[in-house]
Symmetry: C2
Subunit: 259 residues, 2 copies
C-alpha cells in the first residue's frame, strides 16, 4: 500500500474538464452541440471514461480520484459491477490455469498481490471517501493491524482452485515486514491457507518503486527454479517490469494508484 | 488488421456463463440470490465485465465477441461511450506529450497504429455484426480499398497537436504493403497529413505476430536514433513486446482482438 502517489497536473486537467457538470445524463441527447463536448457532459460518462483510462494504465500516475467521481466510484465499488468485474477476471485466470501442465517438481507458481487482490480494504475506503481523500498511512496502518479485511470472493475461489490444481502460491505485497503478523492473521481470518511464502518489503526494499520491488522478488523466484505461470494484482505495478508471469491478470481498482 | 484470432475455449466459457440471460437489468436488484451468480445475471453487467477483461488484456486471445453482447457492443460503439473513452485517452496522451522536452534534432517520435486508432472501421463493422461475425479478410480488404474510413475525432485532434508540439509521427500498421496506396489515400481523406513514415507489413513480415512485427519496427526506429516517447494503439499487441515507448496508450476496442 504505502507507495508513490502523485502528479497533481493530471488531476487539474480532470478538474478543468469537469467544469460543465450541471446537466443530467439526458441533456446530452437533447443538446450535445450547444455547450459541451461529449465526454464532459455528465459525471457518469466522464467518470466511466476516467475509469477506463485508469484501468488500462493510460492515466499514468495519479493521486486521488476526481472529486466529481466520488459517487460513481462508490456505486461501482458497493454495487454489482465491482464483484462482476472481479469475477470475470478470476474466470479468465482459472481458464488459463486449467490449461497449464503442472510438473511433478513443485515449481509451478502463481503470484498474488494482497490488497484489493486477495483482501478487500473496502470497509476502510468506505470510511475514507473511496479514494478521494489524501492517503493517510497512519490510519491505514491501524486498519491493517485490525486484520479484519474480508476476502474478495472471486479471488478466494480462484486461490482455492489454483491450490487444488497444484500451483505453489506466493503472496507478494507492498506491505512491510513489521506488518507480517497482522497480514498473515488477516489472510487466515479471510479464509486463505497454505501459501508457499509471504513476501513483504524488508528494510532494504523501502523507497523502491513497487514495480521494481515486485520484479526483483519474481526474479528471485525464477532463479530458484520456479515457473511463474500467472500473476494477479489490482495495480499495473504488480504485473509489469521484468521477470513477468506468463499471463498477468489486472483486477479492478478505481480507488487508488501505486507506482 | 489481418492477423491471428483464436482460442475458442474462452468463447465456450463465456457462452456457458451466458446461459441465464433472460432477466432484465432490474431483476438483479430484486432477486440476486435466487437464480444467478451476480456476474451472469444480466447481459449489460456481464458484457461490461467482459469488456473490462478485454480492455485490460485479462481475456487473452479471443476471436468473436460473445453473442449475447452484440447489442451491448453496438450501443457502446455507436453511442456516447466510445467517443468519450477515446477522448479521455487522447487527453491523457496529450497531457503527457506536453511534458516532453523536444530536442532540436528531429528525433522525438510518436507511434500510431492505424485501424481503430487513427481511422475508424465502424462503418464496416456496423455492417458485419460489430465483431460477432467471423473475420472475413476478403470483404475487409475491399473496405480498405474504398479508402473511406473516417478519422477517430479524438485521435485526429491529438495527431495535430503532437505535430504542432514537434513530434515526428510514425504510422505502424498490420496492413500489408499492397495496401499502401489505399491506406495513404484514406489517411489524407480523413485529415491526416505530414507523417514521417508509414510502416506496413512487407513480404518478410507476413505470418509474424503483430507484437513481434511492431516491436521489431520500433526497435529499428530506436536504432536510427529516434526517442519513442509515446505509442497509441487499440490493441495490446500495438504496445507491448520490446522497444516499447516511454508511455503507451491503449485505445478502446471491444470488437476484435489481434495477437
Amino acid at each position: 500500500m504505502a507507495s508513490v502517489r502523485h502528479r497533481p497536473l493530471l488531476l487539474l486537467l480532470i478538474t478543468l474538464l469537469a467544469i460543465p457538470t450541471s446537466l443530467s445524463s439526458q441533456s446530452i441527447i437533447q443538446m450535445p452541440k450547444k455547450r459541451h463536448r461529449v465526454y464532459a457532459s455528465d459525471d457518469s460518462l466522464f467518470c466511466d471514461s476516467w475509469r477506463f483510462s485508469v484501468e488500462t494504465n493510460d492515466a499514468g500516475t495519479w493521486s486521488n480520484i476526481p472529486s466529481r467521481c466520488v459517487g460513481f466510484v462508490q456505486n461501482y465499488m458497493t454495487g454489482a459491477r465491482y464483484p462482476s468485474d472481479s469475477a470475470a477476471v478470476a474466470n479468465f485466470s482459472l481458464s488459463f490455469a486449467k490449461g497449464v501442465t503442472i510438473g511433478g517438481d513443485g515449481k509451478d507458481a502463481w503470484v498474488f498481490d494482497i490488497d484489493e487482490t486477495l483482501l478487500s480494504n473496502l470497509p476502510y475506503y468506505q470510511a475514507h471517501g473511496f479514494g478521494s481523500e489524501t492517503f493517510d498511512e497512519a490510519s491505514f496502518d491501524e486498519w491493517v493491524e485490525l486484520a479484519e479485511a474480508p476476502a474478495l470472493p472471486a479471488s478466494l475461489n480462484l486461490y482455492s482452485q489454483l491450490e487444488r490444481l497444484g500451483f505453489k502460491i506466493f503472496l507478494l505485497t507492498g506491505r512491510s515486514e513489521y506488518q507480517r503478523n497482522a497480514t498473515a492473521k488477516n489472510l487466515l481470518f479471510a479464509g486463505y491457507n497454505n501459501w508457499e511464502r509471504l513476501l513483504l518489503r524488508g528494510p532494504s526494499d523501502q523507497g523502491t518503486l513497487a514495480t521494481v520491488f515486485k520484479s526483483q522478488k519474481r526474479s528471485d523466484l525464477i532463479n530458484e527454479g520456479y515457473r511463474i505461470h500467472g500473476s494477479s494484482g489490482d495495480q499495473w505495478s504488480d504485473l509489469v517490469g521484468f521477470a513477468i508471469a506468463q499471463r498477468s491478470f489486472k483486477l479492478p481498482n478505481p480507488m487508488y494508484y501505486i507506482a
